[in-house]
Symmetry: D3
Subunit: 174 residues, 6 copies
């Protein structure tokens, strides 16, 4: 394994106490792994007034559930519990975002995100502009669309490689 | 509240330590509540060599997830963790039964159950007979179909009444 | 067959002149049969100003058609013809409720009922509240949702047991 | 109305005792009406060993039901009852061809016809060739596909013009 | 081949420089071919203020793409390029009419046409009336619906006969 | 614009004679752009015995068409024409890969790719292994899945930014 990936894994392992399986699964292809982590970091380690880190994880959980992705629902469900400081939210969003404890802004984000994940051709520029009523600006809207796209890729890599969530993720943050 | 429903609730509360919200939601209509609990008990408090109590809960979790039912996924997910003695299985089945830790028999049951839950007209008698290769007899097959049907009703009552899972269920059996 | 079921069957046979096949199919499991008939009677043998007995049968026919259920479309189609005193309505509702001879209230009920039958997760509390514009109160709305749920179960039992409508139903009330 | 259409209508009215509404609806556009009737006659007034006139009506009823076409289900349902000499078959095929009283050949024809009506791009030449196992030759297969296509057009004209079946059709042949 | 069809083919071949394959494919059944060409000519060789010949080809391309019909997308795509004097429009409409260079009237026509092509039962008279806001009258609306219907038939005949577009069509009008 | 992106754009512009719009659209976010191009290069500028560069473009065209992505269908359609030396193939694959001039290996690749693009949860490890019968090895299968995933992301970025294909792409390679 190339040094840069090894270092990243060591760093994550020290922080979370275990090596998330996604690192091992993707490390098989170092260049793709680097591209994926670059995407991940630039979109997820970021917060704006209208799109917190927890909101970003909410998008990942809602769309990964729509795509039936076990790894992402369980691993990012754990991160959502931690970032939202709400131990129940991830299971709610994964099962039915419409009835989860979300506010109108979050509900509008989930609505367009899940539709964009499953039927992207039906989402128009006018639909995206609707998010501006909830305080999102053009960069936030780009983030929402890009997160759906990047995790749509991630969901597919997890399905393709039969990626399994580490046991630790199932109970983290509950 | 009629005495028989009150007694049942007291009994459940003593056993589990809290009153599951389904009892309060359904008690608004005592006759329907009695019919639902009668269905529940006769189908779920039962085990046959080819269809254990855990298998029955697996059917409930898989089809309730397909129907987006928060209450049933969370509450019966807890029961599935306990009955299967597997703290991870419920989240797996709820997210993607195809990639859950199931054997061939269980996978065949989930496959037909989820299809029967969402597009019942496509499931034929010949499809049901396919479960016999996995050791199910005619009564087991009736149970599978009836569990899908009864929890399809339950899922709809939960959607209709905005039924929320008790907080306790989210972490039970983990 | 237990006495209570036998008595019910005798009573129905005397009233309608034949034994509807649903009784024979369900009698195989007396406890489930009792629960089903209890549900049926409490929801269907009832009329409110905003939801007549004919309206209730209309819901059964529209959703059973969506679920492709031969028994329920034919048997409840007969009851709908009789209760609505309209020999054409059942065939219209079964084929395309949008173009059937219905008023706005009935059309709104069919719309939400068929969607609730097929994609229950998409129907929100706000959607249900829309029925109040047509005069339905909270109890009527519960009835609509519960009828869809109970006959969704009935449709599945009919598919599962290959239940055939009695020949008499096809021409009753025409 | 041009003389040729008027003559045809008179002829039909004398034979059936009433003027089917399709003639009045389509006569608004004589050239299109002539083309439709030409298609109809060449495909429907024909019988081969593997595709009787009743079979052709069965295709119309099954696919018109899939397209939710009230006029065609009711009017061709009447013709199917008469041609099959089976007063129950039309309601069965319209509700769920899978559970109708059909033989394997008829079931295979309904299966491919309904799929061709709703998702034509998924039906391949290899699928069509599967009908040869049931005795259909190349001309019969053309007939099946063309009937689905022509009545798909007819279903759409009925939806577009809000065409209503004459009351007589509902009870004819029962 | 009957003389009238042969004459038509000669005439087309002289005009376009080659014999479009649809003529050879359909000539196998002269009566059906005549009916199809009659439909085609009366609906497509016509222009009204609100529905130009190019608009009519746009409907054919959008709905044929939805039906996955190679022959019609390629052949009528060529005609659309020529009639609209826009070499890019056909590829845009075939891939995603929502993002094609269309005005509001054209977009509204594509929207209802594609839905009518794929799920005709969901399009109501009220939906059709919505086109009047864009200047279409009752006869134009009939044309839109009939074009969708006739080319739905044409799409199915092309799928059924594995009809291939002539190579010339791919580059015509670019 | 950062120098590395500017250099890449200059290089592409010199090679193809124009600046493909994707570079301008994505350059707004340099880090995401770099990640995307890294993915693109490692997956697309590569050929194995069982998966040529043309095959890789075929996957992009088939899945981008399924996702209704104008930019990718037109731009990668041009590349497919060039790499396959077949001026007709791109339009065929975009409209209906089932009837395109493909061999069995290519058809199997398109089949699983389009399903993986639209309903990834239904594709199992056993489905992927089926590609081995056509000579693909584990790395080829990873490539197929990753190309579908990366271009699913690309399709969504194109929808999100209303990305338009350069006019040059429409006619390149015809």
């Amino acid at each position: 394994m190339p040094d840069d990936l090894r270092e990243r894994i060591v760093e994550v392992a020290e922080k979370t106490g275990f090596i998330p399986n996604v690192f091992l699964a993707l490390a098989h292809r170092p260049q793709e792994a680097r591209a994926f982590f670059a995407y991940h970091d630039t979109l997820m380690d970021k917060a704006t007034p209208a799109l917190s880190k927890a909101d970003r994880e909410m998008i990942v959980v809602a769309t990964s559930a729509a795509n039936g992705c076990l790894y992402c629902v369980v691993a990012h469900g754990a991160v959502l519990r931690i970032r939202s400081k709400n131990p129940l939210l991830a299971d709610q969003v994964a099962t039915d975002w419409r009835k989860a404890d979300l506010d109108d802004r979050q509900r509008a984000i989930c609505d367009i995100s899940v539709r964009f994940a499953r039927q992207p051709e039906t989402v128009t520029i006018a639909d995206w502009d609707g998010l501006k009523e909830h305080g999102l600006d053009d960069d936030d809207i780009w983030d929402v669309g890009a997160i759906v796209g990047v995790f749509g890729l991630s969901n597919r890599m997890a399905h393709l490689t039969n990626m399994r969530p580490n046991e630790e993720f199932y109970s983290m943050g509950r």
